[in-house]
Amino acid sequence: MPIKTQFSGRFYPQRFFSLGDALVLLVIATTIFGVVSTGHQWSAAFHPATEIDLSISALPKYTLLSAARGFIAYFFSLSFTLVVGYVGAKSRLGERLILPALDILQTIPVLGFLPGLVLGLISLFPNTNAGLELAAILMMVTSQVWNMTFSFYSSIKSIPEEINEAATMMGLGWFQRLLRLELPFSAVNLAWNSLLSMAGGWFFLTVCEAFTLGSREFRLPGIGSYMAVAIAEGNRSAMAMGVVAMTLLIVTMDFVIWRPILAWAQRYRVEDVPGAVPTEPLVQIVIRDSRIVRFLKLQLRDRQARKRQRILEREKAEGIGFLNKPLEVFASPQARQFYRSKWLGRVAVFFALTALGVVLGWGGVRLFELLSTLSASEWVILGRNAFWTWVRVMLAVVLSTVWAVPVGIWIGTSSRRIRVAQPVIQVLASFPAPMLFPIALFAILRLGFNFDVASVAMMLLGVQWYVLFNSLAGALRIPAELDFALRLMEVPRWERWRTLYLPCVFPSLVTGWVMATGAAWNTSIVAEYMVFKGKLYQTGGLGATLTVAASNADFRMLAASLTIMVAVVIAFNRFVWAPIYREAQTRYRMDA
């Protein structure tokens, strides 16, 4: 029944101290502890390689420190997203610069950023740990931010024309427009992408917290380092504890943060259908039950009202505030005319572009100089490595397709199965696969296979979720009527798959493939080179080359292998995936 039930505050049970209160207090205490230890850690004297304590008592603190890093990184990513995505959507010039830049940046694996960030930031903060911490956080940012920015950009771009016109006619200033239209419109996408990004941030945690650069070793206290040390030493019980702690962290975050946020974002869904009221997540009920939260809410509401009144009075005295004016540089046709006509604006844009061109040109020349020092035989080796990594990437994608597409369709075609499976998959997919690599490696070596096979398997562990998620999403779009029709015609099961399910899933499967190949290339840096139980495992591949080059601080090799990887991924997207994607979009559209 599509009836909204919203009780006001006085209907809540009036217990003196509820479970909700206990949980809220616990969360507050944990947060305070996390903030204090993070602050302590940042201001500590420069100490590049912390001794990692593998005892179980050290784990809670490590987990909290890593979680804090993840959140700070997410905060940076969100800020970047809001600014860059907004500029990209609002300015024609920005769009032309930002889209290709995002395209390239998202193909660079985290190790590509590592040496520059670490060396640069350490020299900025030579006496405290702040530089190293910041470097680790920014590395996490590089695996969180791009999809968020892209989602915000395309959300703003997809606002229906008439709603945009209505906002313009109402004279909403740029800030009002952002607050009342653009952010709400993007909320659902941004929430889902935040979840994905957080998972992406955890993925390379072991790399971001513990790494070698030339002759120096770096280790930050955190669960990533804990796992890295446990893996290197082959300490099985520590590895198991680490996996448990990480799982707890992810499950807690899913429960306390993502589910409430996703449910809240449902308010901002755009489909204008009556009735569909989302179910309330458990945590929201618990929190509503808490007297502390209610007290804080009331306080906040009063303060906001007072503040609003103050702002209004001030604005009345000073005329309309800056936030209520249209943002001249970005707004639509008139503004474009404005800065086309004003020579000042033109000169500013000209200089900015020239500066950008000089920087890019200089970077290009330096890169070329660096690359030209490589001998022909080195290029041949790089090319061969790239080929083998490509083979592994393709194998991983094919293998994930083989198992994940049928499973995704199987789950997606039954609402009962979706309800059961979705939260489980969400947690599984958020778990950073590299932490499971030693287990996979151990198992596969035991079965008598070599490291080559293991490295494909590890890639598979990292990328299968993209295929599964997208097949599931595609299966949701299978029209029930067509399915009924085929069943009535008594079309055999396999024929139904061939004529209906697979074509329906295909368009979103292609999206899954694009994401999976990109991720597989990035995963190669941890899947082709590994220290396990004090023993080095390595196979010929671009990921291994990259890892070795980064840890040796060999900038020639690093630049060369990065260039090849970026070029291959982008070329593959352009010349293979893009045509397939277009074909999928036209041929298998479901609106015929």
Binding site: P160, E165, M169, Q176, L181, R269, V273, L312, E315, Q334
Partner: protein, 439 residues
């Protein structure tokens, strides 16, 4: 006309198509909106009436000509205008109250002033009790009431209505129409004038004091009709009926002049070879629909009034005209004034079964000059196939004032039905249907 609020002087507008060519949608439009009047802009789809409205509101700039607001050139969004949209354009995550209060966000009003203004318009449009509802909980009519209230709360002198009732059912639309007229007459709001864009003729006659009729290709104003019927207007009076007839007649004339406009769109080609018949522009309609219309004429004894046809088949008038135009191109009907008469061919066609009809269509379609030109092009091509883009380019040369893609679309759809052309959407190629499969 009383004091002019908004004025367009020789305004033209072109849009760049994907293919890089400019498509002119408005050509030299001049019109004024004075105080105390409802002006209706009436025209079939594609006549640029919505574009006209958006230029006057300052949402899009004119390519050419002057836009004046109170005798001053308009710069940016028109400060005198509030707008009601066809799709309502409500913010789904805001309640009725906050949706209506939204335009006041940038005005720095105190909380009590805001409340008072919102309450006033909520009372006016009859939304009391719905303040806390979300748009998705409302019916179409209630949604559009929110749209109207949101426009009224801005207290602007001119209210723009962009096909405001076309996504509502007939009864709801009637009620809202009457309410809009009442708002205009009561003068309890800041609204002095309204501009209504629509393709519904009864709607214009029941609301507007001046009716501007637009023609297509490119959009331009064909005629202005003054409608002095006293408010409130009753659809059953003879005055009302007569006015509707007059508007119908003007549109027919605008879209289907009795004498085919001689060399008005004089192409270089037509002038160079004066003896050749002009190249036809195919109206973009479906053959099946046209056959349905022919049958309707047949049912009425081979002779029907075009308004009645539109009314009884429940089709939009402009659309009906295009269907008649298509039938006329194929010599299946004649149209003296506003009457549609089946020709002998037409009678034969209606009487025939599907095979006879298809064979006739095949023959008649082949007689069209544009079809012959396209066929020649195909025969000269290597494998009797040409890419659709290439054909569009050529059509653009033959008929420089038309939108070539629409004509090509019609060529494909008519040609397929008449089993004259085949089209492969994968290769985007047109080919001659030589009829192996059809015999």
């Amino acid at each position: 006309m009383k004091k002019s609020l908004i004025e367009l002087k020789n305004v033209s507008k072109s849009f760049r198509l994907e293919s890089g060519t400019d498509l002119r949608v408005l050509h030299s439009v001049s019109l004024g909106v004075g105080e105390d009047e409802i002006v209706a802009i009436l025209g079939p789809s594609g006549s640029g009436k919505s574009t006209c409205l958006r230029i006057m509101s300052g949402l899009i700039p004119a390519s050419d000509g002057e836009v004046l607001c109170r005798q001053q050139p308009l710069d940016g969004v028109n400060p005198d205008v509030a707008m009601v949209f066809q799709s309502f354009a409500l913010f789904p995550w805001e309640t009725v109250y906050t949706n209506i209060a939204l335009p006041l966000a940038s005005l720095s009003l105190s909380l009590s002033d805001t409340k008072a203004r919102v309450k006033k318009v909520i009372d006016l449009v009859g939304l009391e009790g719905y303040e806390e509802a979300y748009p998705r909980e409302l019916s179409g009519g209630m949604k559009q009431r929110v749209g109207v209230a949101r426009a009224l709360v801005m207290e602007r002198p001119v209210l723009f209505l962009d096909e405001p009732f076309s996504s509502l059912d007939i009864l709801t639309a009637d009620t809202l129409r009457a309410e809009m007229v009442k708002i205009f007459l009561d003068k309890k709001t800041a609204t002095r004038s309204m501009v209504l864009v629509t393709h519904n003729i009864e709607e214009t006659v029941s609301m507007a004091r001046r009716i501007l009729i637009m023609g297509t290709n490119p959009g331009h104003i064909r005629r202005e009709i003054i409608n002095d019927l006293p408010y409130p207007r009753d659809e059953s009076t003879t005055g009302f009926r007569r006015m509707v007839q007059q508007v119908y007649a003007s549109i027919t004339e605008a879209l289907m002049p009795d004498a085919p406009a001689p060399a008005e769109a004089s192409t270089a080609l037509a002038r160079a070879t004066p003896k050749e018949p002009p190249i036809e522009t195919l109206p973009n309609v479906q053959m099946v629909e046209m056959i349905g219309l022919l049958e309707a004429v047949g049912d009425r004894g081979g002779r029907a009034d075009i308004f009645e046809l539109a009314h009884e088949t429940g089709k939009e008038f402009g659309r009906t005209l295009y269907l008649v135009k298509a039938a006329e191109l194929l010599d299946l009907v004649e149209t003296p004034k506003q009457t549609v008469i089946l020709t002998d061919l037409g009678g034969h066609f209606v009487a025939g079964d599907i095979n006879i009809r298809k064979r006739m269509l095949h023959e008649l379609f082949g007689l069209l000059r544009i079809v012959q030109m396209a066929s020649n092009l195909l025969r000269k091509s290597e494998n009797l196939r040409i890419p659709i883009e290439e054909l569009a380019e050529r059509v653009g040369e033959w008929l420089p004032t038309e939108n070539p893609h629409q004509i090509v679309e019609a060529l494909v759809s008519w040609g397929r039905f008449a089993e004259y052309f085949g089209y492969n959407d994968d290769a985007k190629e047109l080919y001659l249907d030589v009829g192996q499969e059809t015999t």
